[in-house]
């Protein structure tokens, strides 16, 4: 399988692009053909993913596998360098699974103004960007894929979105672009400051920041931080998220929550931490602080929401807080938890957005005060909503727990090299232990808003205005799209080692610089 080793990632990245090109060639009227092509493309991509899984050397997850390293832009020494290790693999597969599910889900209800051709083409373009980001090992390549994602999302929100879509899409675009600009500055600075002018992530990481002074590292890390933190999004850079989610079409929200947010956290793990270890040590307490503020703050904001989808959006802020808290501890526990948390959040929150979309499709409203009695009108959907709410609040035995608990656990004993909030390593322990308790309190609030949402949407009896309305229970495309996610939530919850065993070695090697 040498051939597959060399070509798998390139195929994975560009197959959706080919599919998109084919779709663009098909006349707009032939919707059936367009749908078939889109679905097939995403399935072929998934098949490549399965091939990668089969061929992946699980005994050696810390090493970059399936590497391609070709000259690309020699003038600036940018290379076409792709590769995956134990950290990218779960996220890569997550992306490859989510996209076909989104396409299946949207097959029979496209949001207004319809136009499946453009919609599906954009989804495939989005997939190119997402897969590319997770496999790129060159800063320039990474940056390009990172930005490729913006455009389709912008149009998805701006064209197929809700009533306030223009505002939301522009906010999303500008906010993210602003972060990217600073990130690019840091990338360029890395290029010029590194020993050998290079954009290669593996090479830069192998220097472990050697040759860059502590002060410079702190500045550069700040640049990377802004770029990635906005994407995550961390408090206080999160305000684009609720708007974008509220306005985006269902599938857009799902992709946004399930994959796009992970680009930011992935950036931290893949680029910021290994390349600028000293910067990370200085920034760690502040990242931790913003994370726990995000956890509590996101939860409080959830409690104030009346719109179901907006509530779920705010819950993302809280959940990504746990992921970032794990990363901020700079320990293998934390990074393992972060990757698990990303996958779990992708499955669970993706599922919740699907549900919110389906509920809106049926009731034509997401106002929780008008909803109620979903368990009566559509019992299966009601139970699925309850299941997802439970998963989202971190119930042990379901996937969410394994992102949350080890992250909180890791905060008890952060890396000894990380700074505390007072700017020295003496204050590290109590800083992070305080974070630990606050984060643990956040789990109660999470239970509060999710169950409250469930009580208002799922329990009770239907409101008079919907008493006679015929509410479909879950229908077939929804089952097809949801079953894999639901299974994933259970299976990863019961057998966490399916993911931990993949990420563990890679996480250890990334945090080795901090084990002091």
């Amino acid at each position: 399988m040498d051939w597959f080793d060399d070509w798998a990632l390139t195929l994975a990245v560009f197959t959706p692009l080919v599919g998109m090109a084919i779709i663009l060639l098909i006349p707009r009227a032939e919707e059936a053909a367009i749908k078939v092509v889109a679905l097939l493309t995403s399935l072929v991509t998934l098949a490549i993913g399965v091939g990668i899984l089969v061929d992946f050397d699980f005994g050696n997850t810390a090493k970059m596998q399936f590497q391609v390293d070709k000259e690309w832009i020699p003038v600036i020494n940018a290379r076409y360098h792709l590769g995956i290790d134990g950290i990218s693999l779960p996220l890569l597969i997550l992306t490859m699974v989510i996209v076909p599910l989104c396409i299946i889900y949207s097959l029979d209800h496209f949001p207004e103004p319809h136009n499946p051709k453009a919609f599906l083409a954009l989804i495939l373009l989005l997939e190119v960007g997402m897969i590319g980001t997770f496999v790129a090992l060159d800063l320039v390549l990474f940056f390009i894929f990172f930005e490729v994602v913006l455009l389709p999302m912008f149009f998805m929100i701006g064209v197929w979105g809700g009533p306030n879509r223009e505002y939301a899409s522009i906010k999303f675009f500008l906010f993210t672009l602003f972060g990217s600009a600073l990130m690019l500055v840091s990338f360029l600075a890395l290029y010029f400051l590194s020993k050998r002018s290079t954009f290669d992530i593996s090479t830069l990481a192998s220097f472990e920041g050697a040759g860059i002074t502590r002060g410079t590292q702190v500045l550069l890390f700040a640049g990377l931080f802004l770029g990635f933190a906005i994407k995550v999004p961390m408090f206080p850079f999160h305000t684009w998220l609720p708007d974008a989610h509220t306005e985006a079409p269902t599938v857009g929200s799902v992709l946004l929550a399930a994959v796009l947010l992970k680009l930011g956290t992935y950036g931290f793990i893949r680029i910021a931490l290994p390349i600028l270890p000293e910067g990370a040590q200085v920034w760690a307490p502040w990242i931790g602080l913003l994370s726990v503020v995000g956890i509590i703050y996101g939860a409080l904001c959830c409690l104030a929401q009346r719109d179901m989808k907006r509530l779920i959006a705010f819950s993302s802020v809280a959940h990504m807080g746990f992921v970032m808290l794990g990363i901020a501890t700079l320990t293998d526990f934390g990074v393992n938890a972060a990757v698990f948390g990303m996958v779990a959040h992708g499955l669970i929150t993706g599922m919740l957005f699907f549900l919110a979309g389906s509920i809106q499709h049926r009731y034509h409203t997401r106002e929780m005060s008008r909803l109620g009695g979903l368990l009566v009108s559509a019992p299966k959907m009601g139970w699925i909503l309850g299941f997802c709410a439970m998963a989202s609040l971190g119930l042990p035995g379901l996937a969410g727990f394994w992102g949350e608990f080890p992250a909180v656990l890791s905060a008890f004993e952060p890396s000894r090299l990380a700074n505390g909030i007072l700017g020295n390593t003496d204050s590290t322990l109590w800083t992070f232990r305080t974070f630990m308790v606050v984060a643990a309190i956040g789990t109660v609030l999470a239970a509060g808003y999710l169950l409250w949402m469930y009580q208002r949407v799922g329990m009770g009896t239907p409101k008079p205005e919907f008493e006679d309305a015929h509410i479909h229970d879950v229908h077939r495309p929804e089952w097809v799209a949801w079953t894999p996610l639901l299974l994933g939530i259970v299976v990863f919850g019961l057998f966490p080692n399916l993911i931990f065993s993949i990420t563990n070695d890679a996480a250890s090697s990334i945090t080795r610089a901090f084990s002091g």
Partner: protein, 692 residues
């Protein structure tokens, strides 16, 4: 079986899935699957227990006879494990997850505590399954109900056999989930879903402590494994400070789950669920999870709270306060299930206090006996509401049910007497074990608390029994005895309420409970196993009896103007009290006006008030406050400040752009002028730079 105990929780878990997917198509709507599964689990649990007992007895006889309990009579104090040989727990595990070099296992552990719990949980769950076929007959969601019961049994058993704390926490939360599902079983009505939410959120609040505590223990001992943790906590190099923090944190978990003061308010509300559920989850099994945790990692608390040293500690104080608070509240309830719920709170207080005063055995033993008589009482209450009052639990609609429901009546009486702690019923032995340990281990104050609690228990249960079974029927239905599906479990539980206590009855030289179930691989060596104390036992029993008498008399007296005349003649105790009171009429006034009015009025109402307004008020205020804080944070901060900044930047940029756009006039020649002027400026700059 000792090696394969994991099969026991697996059976109900499979049954859960089967009921969920195929239950509705089965002739009995899934109930038969649940009953079969629990039956199998019960049989396996019994086999496990047998094998464990064999193993223990083999070890004992090898040591040369049962040296366990044969120490001299009197008030001598025997250290726990000195006589008996240590029997190693059987632990099996597989890798669950890993981090760095560490691998974390999921596994099954069999020791004395585990086999005891296995038998109790499977037995009561089985009885409740059978009972529910009649009780929940034609329920809206019969199949879902059975699915949830199976899931609960699976989770509870999973928690019980946990080999490590993380696994225990998983089971702990899963039983919480099942409790949520079952309390909110009739979720169409708002009060039910409110109660479900309250239960989940309150226990979850305690779970912050549980999570934190487990994390601290993990980093202190370097493992989640229960054996390792216990060994560490008893070793000389233990870090006392960390253990103390861990104990305090874990204590919050226990308070949430086991309904300890001040996190107990959810438990009475949880009565919104179906009655069999209250019996199974909120009396016999799930709520004792906290006590189970305390007993499971007892060395941690022993070290953290310095229990060996006597005096006050958080655990004993919380337990003691809970006994009194719960019992006082039980007086003022009109809902029979609420009486039992507060009684459960109070009894759980006994168990926690027992752990706090070093009475490990007493706590576990009381857990064991309490499961039977409290389940019996709850199921009895269910039987009444099912067959006599048409799903009402209001005692004002009951009365006089003794005649139409003899089985329910007699089983309820047995349960009551056992609960009140009257010789020789089960509650007497376990309560005595606790009190004697408190007495002999330098915890006198808790001995007093325990005795007061016992007296109060006797009083409120008398009131409850009287209002329910004596007097005249005040409802509007036709009371009749329940069907065998209901009465058979009642009888079984009543029998157990009598005999269960005899497992550990010191005057008869029986110490089987200790011999079999104290073998948990690591308890503090200094732990005190008390000698039976006739004086204390006599005080406790006579106190309970006297209070029963007074209370019964008082209640009877008050209802005198009703047609209750003949009653005092039939009931000896009541009769004695009645005569006593009749002669001293003014005493009656004094009693009613001062003592009962005092207890029932200001004290109980005060407790109730504190409960409803202060504690519940704080809970509600925290909830409402966070909602308000959330709204403020959202409205003011998020929308105005944070978002405002974003919007301002956007607006400024737009304004700047508007200004700049005037430059773009569309006139080509003006563009050319700019071009030339710019070139000129650049040339000038280059000139200056080169010259300068």
């Amino acid at each position: 079986m000792l090696d394969n105990v994991w099969i026991i929780p697996l059976i109900p878990a499979v049954s859960y899935l089967l009921i969920l997917f195929f239950g509705k198509r089965m002739p009995k709507k899934g109930a038969e699957i649940g009953i079969a599964a629990l039956g199998a689990a019960f049989v396996l649990a019994c086999i496990t227990a047998m094998q464990w007992i064999d193993k223990v007895e083999a070890a004992v006889s090898k040591e040369g006879g049962a040296a366990t309990g044969l120490a001299a009579l009197g008030r001598s104090v025997v250290a726990a494990a000195t006589g008996a040989p240590e029997v190693e727990p059987v632990v099996r595990g597989v890798t669950w997850w890993e981090n760095g070099p560490a691998k974390f296992e999921i596994g099954a552990r069999v020791d004395g505590l585990v086999v005891m719990m296995l038998v109790v949980v499977t037995l009561i769950s089985l009885l409740v399954h059978v009972y529910s076929t009649a009780y929940m007959h034609e329920d809206r969601r019969f199949t879902h109900y059975y699915a949830a019961l199976s899931l609960f049994s699976a989770s509870m058993l999973f928690m019980v056999i946990s080999a490590n704390l993380l696994q225990l926490m998983v089971g702990w939360e899963l039983v919480g989930l099942c409790s949520f599902m079952l309390i909110g079983h009739w979720w169409e009505e708002k009060p039910n879903s409110n109660a479900a939410l309250k239960a989940f959120l309150t226990t979850r609040t305690g779970d912050v402590g549980l999570m934190t505590g487990i994390i601290i223990v993990f980093f202190a001992a370097g493992s989640f494994d229960i054996s390792v943790v216990n060994e560490y906590a008893l070793s000389p190099e233990v870090n006392h400070g960390l253990m103390m923090w861990a104990s305090v944190a874990l204590m919050f978990g226990i308070m949430g789950k086991s309904g300890q003061f001040f996190l107990h308010t959810w438990l009475p509300d949880a009565m919104a669920g179906p009655t069999p559920v209250s019996a199974l989850i909120h009396a016999a099994t799930m709520v004792v999870a906290g006590v189970f945790l305390g007993a499971r990692v007892y060395p941690v608390f022993w070290e953290g709270f310095s229990i060996g040293g006597g005096g006050l500690n958080m655990m004993a104080v919380v337990g003691g306060v809970t006994i009194i608070v719960g019992a006082a509240l039980a007086f003022v309830q009109n809902d029979i299930k609420k009486v039992l719920a507060y009684s459960t709170v109070s009894q759980l207080g006994y168990m926690v206090m027992a752990l706090g005063v070093g009475a490990w055995l007493g706590a576990v033993f009381h857990l064991f006996t309490h499961a039977f008589f409290k389940a019996c009482l709850f199921l009895g209450a269910g039987s009444i509401s099912h067959s006599a009052t048409h799903h009402s639990f209001d005692m004002r609609e009951m009365g006089g049910l003794r005649k139409p429901m003899p089985v329910t009546f007699w089983t309820f009486i047995v349960g009551t007497v056992a609960l009140a702690g009257i010789f020789p019923f089960a509650g007497f032995w376990s309560k005595d074990e606790i009190l004697a340990t408190a007495d002999q281990g330098d915890f006198r104050i808790f001995l007093v608390v325990g005795l007061i609690g016992a007296a109060m228990t006797a009083a409120y249960m008398t009131r409850c029994v009287y209002l329910t079974f004596f007097g005249q029927y005040r409802g509007h239905h036709h009371p009749h005895e329940s069907t065998p599906a209901i009465t058979v479990p009642l009888v079984i539980l009543a029998v157990l309420s009598v005999v269960a206590g005899l497992l550990q009855s010191a005057p008869f030289e029986i110490k089987k409970f200790q011999e079999w179930f104290e073998q948990v691989g690591g308890l503090p060596k200094e732990m005190i196993i008390p000698e039976f104390d006739y004086g204390l036992a006599a005080i406790s029993v006579s106190l309970a009896t006297i209070v029963v008498g007074i209370a019964a008399f008082f209640v009877f007296r008050r209802e005198e103007h009703g047609a209750l005349k003949g009653l005092t003649q039939r009931n000896r105790v009541a009769h004695a009290g009645y005569r006593f009171l009749e002669r001293k009429y003014y005493l009656d006034d004094l009693y009613e006006g001062v003592i009962v009015a005092g207890v029932k009025g200001p004290i109980a109402r005060g407790s109730n008030w504190v409960n409803q307004y202060v504690i519940d008020g704080v809970v509600n205020a925290v909830g409402r406050g966070s909602a308000r804080a959330g709204r403020w944070a959202y409205d003011v901060f998020d929308q105005e400040v944070v978002d405002g900044a974003v919007n301002d930047i956007g607006r400024e940029t737009a304004l700047a752009g508007g200004g700049m756009s005037k430059l773009q006039s569309g006139r080509l020649q003006r563009y050319a002028l700019f071009l030339l002027a710019s070139v000129g400026l650049i040339a000038l700059a280059v000139y200056i730079v080169n010259v300068a």
